[in-house]
């Protein structure tokens, strides 16, 4: 696994991709989850009650950044797109959880889909932490499997 990471991140472009994905996700999720306010003043606030949710956002963003950048490398290497799909699904599920509380996303979903939207929105809110933990688990598995398969494929190539 270490060997795979060394191979991928010896190319600085992948470090840049990882940092970019992390920042985009972290920024977006922080705004949606109301940890970061952009107007009228830029304000960042994490209350003790929301610290677990914030921590999960940070972990989710880090794992997504690694999983996606590793899979971009994998796609370029062997043109196999299955795992990048898994990491994107994991990211989307995790990002959706909790982001649907009282915000504009919830309002759009509920006004568009009515009762079904309301049920979906409250489900994503109620089970925010378990859903995020599941997504982190999925992303962790994706990272592990990708790294393992990359080192195996690289060995075969050697």
């Amino acid at each position: 696994m270490n060997n795979s990471l060394q191979i991928i991140y010896s190319n600085y472009n992948y470090i840049l991709i990882t940092i970019t994905i992390f920042l985009i996700l972290f920024f977006t999720l922080s705004v949606i989850s109301e940890f970061l306010f952009l107007e009228p003043f830029i304000t960042f606030v994490v209350y003790p009650e929301t610290s677990l949710s914030f921590l999960l956002i940070v972990i989710l963003s880090i794992f997504s950044a690694f999983a996606i950048s590793m899979n971009i490398y994998r796609v370029k290497l062997i043109k196999e797109t299955k795992k990048i799909g898994s990491s994107i699904i994991g990211t989307v599920i995790g990002a959706s959880a909790g982001a649907c509380s009282c915000g504009p996303i919830a309002f759009s979903i509920i006004t568009t889909f009515g009762t079904a939207g309301s049920i979906a929105s409250s489900f994503l809110t109620i089970y925010e932490i378990p859903i995020r933990l599941t997504s982190i688990g999925i992303l962790g598995m994706v990272i592990l499997v990708t790294a393992t398969s990359l080192s195996r494929e690289c060995k075969v190539k050697f």
Binding site: E34, E39, T50, G103, A106, S118, T125, I126
Partner: protein
């Protein structure tokens, strides 16, 4: 032959589902229609608006209008963290008053919870009931704001429970709450809760979207004073 029977059963089942679905939608539509704002003699629509006393002095130079849903967790977070400081530093000192506008959209219990505050207001306890709702808030539609719990809150506040239950069962404030919800969206452009409109003495208004921390309110309120 068996396949044909299966197809027939499937078609019947789908038809029954569609008919039931249409029936439920129509019934829901008619229910909304029957409870919609009545028309006056000249044909214009009106709703008997209930005037709620703002929290704080009516002569305060600033007005903070909160647009919220009693099931919204960000509203509760704001209620717990920011509101007490605003009340201490701006409402109690006569610099601002607080008004609440209902925008119940998150779940089935949001509307009745909002109606319950007006039924409580009939007995002079609007703000007490409002506070209790946020204190007792749990997850959306998990039963914390069902009919029995709303009555229990009223009972806990010492309200006349028969009068309160009569008010709730008659849907006395259904139209009023719906009117407030529409007003939140059309007049104030709210698409999420909580949304705040802060109105200064000269009529200048500033909009804050989300459960902002106290520091943001402090800066905004001071800029309008």
């Amino acid at each position: 032959m068996i396949m044909t029977n299966v197809k027939v059963i499937a078609v019947i089942a789908v038809s029954v589902i569609i008919v039931i679905g249409l029936g439920v939608s129509f019934s829901s539509y008619m229910n909304d229609f029957e409870n919609s704002p009545k028309k006056s003699d000249d044909g214009s629509q009106y709703v008997e608006l209930k005037k709620i006393q703002p929290l704080g002095s009516t002569s305060a130079p600033l007005t903070i209008l909160e647009i919220g849903d009693y099931q919204c967790e960000m509203c509760k977070l704001w209620f717990d963290k920011t509101r007490p400081l605003i009340i201490e530093n701006y409402v109690n000192t006569g610099k601002a008053n607080l008004v609440f506008l209902d925008m119940p959209f998150l779940g089935n219990d949001s509307g009745p919870a909002a109606q319950a505050t007006y039924c409580a207001d009939d007995q002079g306890m609007y703000w007490d009931y409002h506070v209790k709702l946020y204190q007792y808030q749990q997850h959306v539609d998990d039963g914390w704001a069902n009919t029995e719990r709303l009555s229990a809150i009223a009972f806990g506040l010492g309200l006349d429970i028969d009068e309160f239950n009569e008010c709730m069962s008659s849907n006395k404030y259904f139209s009023h709450v719906n009117f407030n919800k529409k007003k939140s969206v059309t007049d104030f452009g709210a698409i999420s809760t909580p949304t705040f409109i802060i109105i200064g003495a000269d009529g200048e208004a500033k909009k804050l979207v989300g459960g902002h921390p106290y520091s943001t309110f402090e800066k905004t309120l001071n800029s309008l004073l």
